[in-house]
């Protein structure tokens, strides 16, 4: 079977890149197979679980149902791009550790990328709004409370407000 390829030029985690990709490949496949960005998890592959979430031009997308060719000219951010150059974790990553919002860790990169989109809004969301915004993610082991707490805590910190765990 012949395969159709197309050159995709985009910025991934701040670096300009170019790669010939199968026109039917998903962004998940491109990021994992061509750029070894394994934080992008292959979960349900039908856009249900959120494990593959990445930011495209600042918006969170399920990369499993986003074609790689659609990424042409776009700015893509994965979990690997959140670390500072000296390897220091970002505040949201640290919050997930601090709040024990991780068990097996499979859903974590996707959750964190959606959390980054929420935090970039620079708005103070209510618990209900946060739950709604995070609802596109499935976690099979921790339950969602600690995850919500990690996001909420970082949101308060970034907005310079005092966070009370109540």
């Amino acid at each position: 079977m012949s395969t159709q390829y197309k050159l995709v030029s985009c910025t991934i985690n701040g670096k300009k890149t170019e790669k010939m990709v199968d026109v039917r490949a998903s962004l998940t496949d491109m990021l994992r197979n061509d750029y070894s960005l394994t934080s992008v998890k292959k979960g349900c592959e039908v856009g249900e679980c959120g494990a593959c979430n990445v930011l495209i031009n600042g918006e969170a997308f399920n990369s499993c149902i986003y074609l790689a060719v659609w990424a042409e000219g776009k700015d893509i951010l994965t979990l690997e791009g959140l670390m500072s150059p000296d390897g220091e974790l970002s505040d949201i990553q640290q919050a997930f550790i601090d709040e024990s919002a991780i068990q097996c860790g499979f859903c974590t990169p996707g959750f964190i990328m959606t959390a980054v989109e929420i935090l970039n809004d620079k708005k103070l969301y209510s618990d209900e709004e946060l739950r709604k915004k995070l609802s596109g993610h499935l976690c099979r082991c921790t339950g969602y409370e600690n995850i919500l707490k990690a996001v909420k805590k970082t949101m308060y910190r970034r907005l310079g407000k005092e966070f009370s765990d109540g």
Partner: protein, 586 residues
């Protein structure tokens, strides 16, 4: 794609329309040269019955074009089979009636036609009766081959259609000669030879319908009286057309007799014969216009109708202009084929033919528009065009100009009548829209409520992989504009990309032809409907997956198709006019 389809179908339809005319020409030559003057007179006397017989066939074909087009446009396979089964029964019933009438009442019919009475010293009567009996005995195969031709066009078997008409002409010549030289069967043999040639044509058509994959199959339980009534109703404009045409011919002959006597009538008879041959172009493109407009109208496909209007004006005019130019150049030679002796008459006829031919361009346009309007259900305009071009504008023009310029005025009158009729179409459009417009949109003659609103649909053509990617991105943007959630938008883009790249990869290289894909997405009442139409080899993805459901050797086999079929709520496939139409609902 519409342009290509129109051209392919028109070629087949023109040949299909041309061959019977040629068959009649061959019959007339063989009768005239080999059977003598009495036989030739009988042939001429039989003409009205043969014309009525042909008109009934054309009525059925026209009616089927519209009814079938409407159901196929909706992708209604059940409706298509109801139409098929009902029309077969209709054809057989009309055939039985025809045979009964000609055998039970043949004698009075021949007398009424002017063949005289059945006396031993009147061979013309017996020749006429024999010819009609032989000719009409083939009614079942005549009507069936006519209607099967329509279904062949619908399933895209244009080559079979051409093969069937070529078989017919060869069979006609062979059987004609055999009947004269081997069986000495006279006019009965000549008539029966035509029946046998239709039988040969019918057999060629029939083979395609014996294929188990053919979407049309005959079932007794699918016969519907309502469908038969619809075929008659939708095909009825042809009866008005024939009626106006007959009155026109009568009036023309009357006017010509007044101008220049029998010579003028004879010249006009030559023009009519030539006109019939050239008219095959108009008949072919008109039939295709009718079939396509019915399908696109039923599919509420405004843009395809616009493309159809554009291509039917430009392409049929182009073929006609080239043919007419050739006829204009070779006019003296053409006339000499029919009028051998009188130099003055030849000179008049050449001038007349050159003028008369100019009118055929507008005549053709009037006909394709008449059929187009019939296809979109505008019966009043359809009948008005027939009335205008035959009588209302034609006769006053001819009367006035022939009064001033005699015979040449008559020919100019026929040209003017056709062009004024064409102009009247623009006037009707002006009345509908309240403004003068020559746009394809205006000539489509569709109301503002027809089909989806422009903001509710998006359509694009795909020629290569780059286009496929572009289309999927454009759909993503369209979904966003329509407020469809991002995930559904992405899934729509994904499905379309998957299916179009599949078609490019597996369909575009299957044969030597160039291919296209048309993608249309419509949003109506929360239904997201995607139609992917391509002109590659037949491929039904729903059936294919069904057949390969249990392939367990390779779990990743057909993964793209399986993904699409799992993502969509509904998937429906139909092959119409040789085009694959896949409809997905998300």
């Amino acid at each position: 794609m519409i342009s290509k389809l129109f051209k392919q179908m028109t070629h087949a339809q023109i040949i299909s329309a041309l061959i019977p005319t040629l068959c009649m020409l061959i019959d007339s030559i063989l009768i005239g040269r080999l059977l003598g003057v009495d036989a030739m007179s009988a042939y001429g006397i039989s003409a009205p019955i043969i014309l009525i017989y042909g008109a009934i066939g054309y009525l059925m074909v026209n009616g089927i074009d519209v009814v079938l087009g409407r159901v196929m446009g909706k992708g209604d396979k059940e409706g298509a089979n109801i139409c098929f089964s009902s029309s077969i029964v209709l054809a057989l019933a009309v055939s039985a009636l025809t045979i009964f009438v000609i055998f039970a009442a043949g004698d009075p019919i021949c007398t009424a036609l002017g063949a005289g009475s059945a006396t031993g010293d009147n061979p013309v009567f017996f020749h006429t009766r024999d010819y009609l009996r032989g000719y009409l005995l083939g009614a079942p195969v005549f009507f069936l081959s006519q209607i099967l031709g329509t279904y062949l066009q619908t399933i895209g078997k244009r080559k079979v259609l051409i093969a069937s008409v070529i078989t017919m002409i060869i069979a006609d010549v062979v059987f004609d000669l055999a009947s004269i030289y081997m069986f000495n069967a006279g006019m009965l043999g000549i008539g029966f030879a035509t029946s046998l040639s239709y039988f040969a044509s019918f057999i060629v058509c029939l083979i395609s319908f014996l294929d188990k994959d053919c979407i049309f199959s005959f079932h007794m339980d699918k016969i519907r009286i309502s469908c038969i009534a619809s075929i008659f109703r939708e095909g009825s404009p042809i009866l008005f057309n024939q009626l106006f045409f007959t009155v026109r011919t009568f009036l023309f002959n009357w006017i010509l007799l007044g101008i220049d006597g029998n010579e003028a009538v004879a010249i006009f008879a030559v023009f009519t014969t030539l006109g019939n041959l050239i008219y095959s172009i108009g008949l072919g493109s008109g039939t295709v216009a009718l079939m396509l407009s019915s399908i696109f109208y039923s599919d509420e496909d405004r843009s395809s109708l616009k493309s159809l209007v554009r291509v039917m004006i430009s392409y049929s005019s182009l073929i006609l202009v080239v043919t007419i130019l050739l006829a204009e150049i070779f006019a003296p030679w053409i006339i000499r084929l029919f009028i051998a002796s009188d130099p003055k008459m030849i000179r008049f006829a050449v001038i007349g033919l050159r003028i008369f031919l100019i009118g055929l361009i507008a005549d053709n346009l009037n006909d394709v528009f008449k059929n187009y309007f019939q296809g979109i259900g505008e019966m009043l305009i359809t009948n008005l065009i027939a009335f205008f071009k035959c009588l209302a504008f034609m006769i006053p023009c001819v009367l006035l100009l022939s009064h001033i310029f005699r015979l040449n005025g008559f020919w100019i009158g026929t040209v003017l009548g056709q062009y004024i009729t064409f102009l009247s179409i623009s006037v009707m459009i002006w009345r509908k829209y309240g403004r003068i417009s020559f746009s394809d949109e205006a000539y489509c003659y569709l109301g503002p409520d027809f089909g989806a609103k422009p903001e509710d649909y998006v359509e694009m053509a795909v020629k290569d992989v780059d286009d496929a990617v572009l289309v999927s991105e454009k759909l993503l943007g369209f979904c966003c504009e329509k407020g469809i959630d991002r995930k559904t938008g992405m899934l729509i883009g994904l499905c379309v990309e998957e299916m179009t790249v599949n078609i490019i990869e597996h369909g575009f290289n299957k044969d030597r032809h160039s291919h296209n894909i048309d993608v249309r997405m419509t949003v109506k009442d929360d239904r997201r409907v995607i139609r992917i139409r391509d002109n590659c080899v037949d491929f039904d993805p729903t059936k294919y997956l069904e057949l390969h459901r249990n392939d367990e050797n390779d779990p990743s086999a057909h993964i793209g198709l399986r993904m699409v079929m799992n993502l969509v709520k509904e998937a429906d496939y139909v092959n119409t006019l040789g085009l694959n139409n896949l409809t997905l609902v998300l």
